[in-house]
Symmetry: C2
Subunit: 241 residues, 2 copies
DNA sequence: ATCAATAAAATTGTCTGACAACTTGTCGGG
DNA sequence: CCCGACAAGTTGTCAGACAATTTTATTGAT
């Protein structure tokens, strides 16, 4: 199920072992782990290795240690937060993540329309202009597109939105360039022009402070690209739900 | 800015220091960290502490180590995935996270209305019923409420939604019980009754497959609780934007 | 016999020193 | 100029010791 490269360093081996014990349920939340000495004898490694593995798992939020008492399996709810599986990026997974992105961005546009400052609006406009010049130069403008969405997220005044987008973008956007279903340059150009037109409507809504329209425009914009991926997924291998 | 409890264990102090250096940009991605020996002398701790801190940061995906060469700041895009800050949970941070949650849940309700199976609808109805019985017993039903929202997230057919909610819920919901602005039991009862009424409208919309109404009902439901928190935050110490 | 204070044992946290495994740069010889 | 051997530097692992803290056992008084 998981990746099993031999992991030439012992610490990772011990980490994998303990992690598997915890996630596999052999060690229930709140249960106490074997003592460091017990682990050294059982696994045949030095205490240094055991301690480093424990420190790593503690950083992961899987366990907590109490001096003089022992190490305990942490409540999984208290753990940090991992969103998507980075390794297994199947096409379906990407679609799922894109839906999550749509959800966040639609509301981000609404919040931006509600409370964007003049500087924020100016930044969004500048990002739009950057796409425009890139398109006139005949480029794809994927980086500029991402910057545009990022500018909107920052205009919400809520730092969670840009952070969320930055993470999702780094994992979803790169795939976008892998395979575009549009073939001829002419088709591609009209497609990009339409995208940019959708962008302009989003800008207008945010600039006007029209919350409802901002939501609508952003949803339409993202739904369209989502549908293109859905079609692609269905074409490649149809199935699922 | 951040929380500065003395952190009685040195490892966390060193971790915090290095983590701040990396996130603060003083150490660019790809840059090499000081050697362990340099850190021991500079920070005045033993090599054991430094190594455990490095092991923890490596588990966090912030750095990578190469034997014989050194430790390097990892490319953040390659790093696993972290969304929000778990430690620094100020009231403003909670509000920001709640807005993110609203964004996701509104669209989750829409997706649920669009493609929930009969079993999913039944599960949502059952969760609603659980709240009902808990309320009749005079309980707060926070766990049941969370289960209700979770059932909706699962009805989307997109595994990212329940996962996202599970994380956010574990960090946001617990605070809900910390301090409720409603004082008298009567007020509390009417409040809970209204919440449950809002729930019923969400259930009806999803059951009918009415996407727009599902969005509207969920947004109204969450906006209301968000507004209550906003008022609470403003009452405690007004400021910010 | 019950309970409280004390002592002992157990456990994690930190320090020190050492050696192995690996990487990188240097230097000499071809 | 290229290339191999060598040396220095760095991380990985091991071993032992002591400190700080918690848990358990012992002991004593009531």
């Amino acid at each position: 199920m998981t990746d099993k490269q031999p992991a030439n360093n012992l610490t990772e081996q011990v980490m994998a072992r303990l992690s598997a014990d915890i996630r596999g349920g052999r060690l229930a939340p709140g249960a106490r782990l074997p003592t460091e000495q017990a682990l050294t004898t059982e696994l045949g490694v030095s205490r240094t290795v055991v301690r480093e593995a424990v420190a790593a798992l503690r950083a992961d939020g899987l366990i907590v240690t109490r001096r003089g008492s022992g190490a305990y399996v942490a409540d999984p709810a208290a753990g940090p937060f991992r969103i998507a599986a980075p390794r297994t990026t199947s096409l379906d997974d990407i679609l799922d993540v894109m839906e999550l992105r749509l959800s966040v961005e639609v509301e981000a546009a609404a919040f931006a329309a509600e409370r964007a400052s003049r500087r924020h609006v100016a930044a969004i406009r500048a990002a739009w202009q950057s796409i425009e010049t890139a398109l006139k130069r005949g480029e794809g403008a994927v980086a500029e597109d991402f910057a545009f969405h990022r500018a909107i997220a920052e205009a919400t005044g809520n730092s969670q939105f840009p952070r969320f987008l930055a993470y999702l973008g780094s994992h979803v956007i790169p795939r976008q360039s892998v395979r575009l279903s549009v073939d001829t340059p002419a088709e591609r150009r009209t497609y990009l022009a339409r995208i940019q037109h959708e962008h302009s409507r989003i800008v207008a809504a945010i600039s006007d402070g029209d919350v409802t329209e901002a939501r609508r425009a952003m949803r339409e914009h993202l739904t369209r690209s989502l549908d293109r991926y859905r079609a692609l997924a269905r074409g490649k291998k149809n199935g699922r739900r």
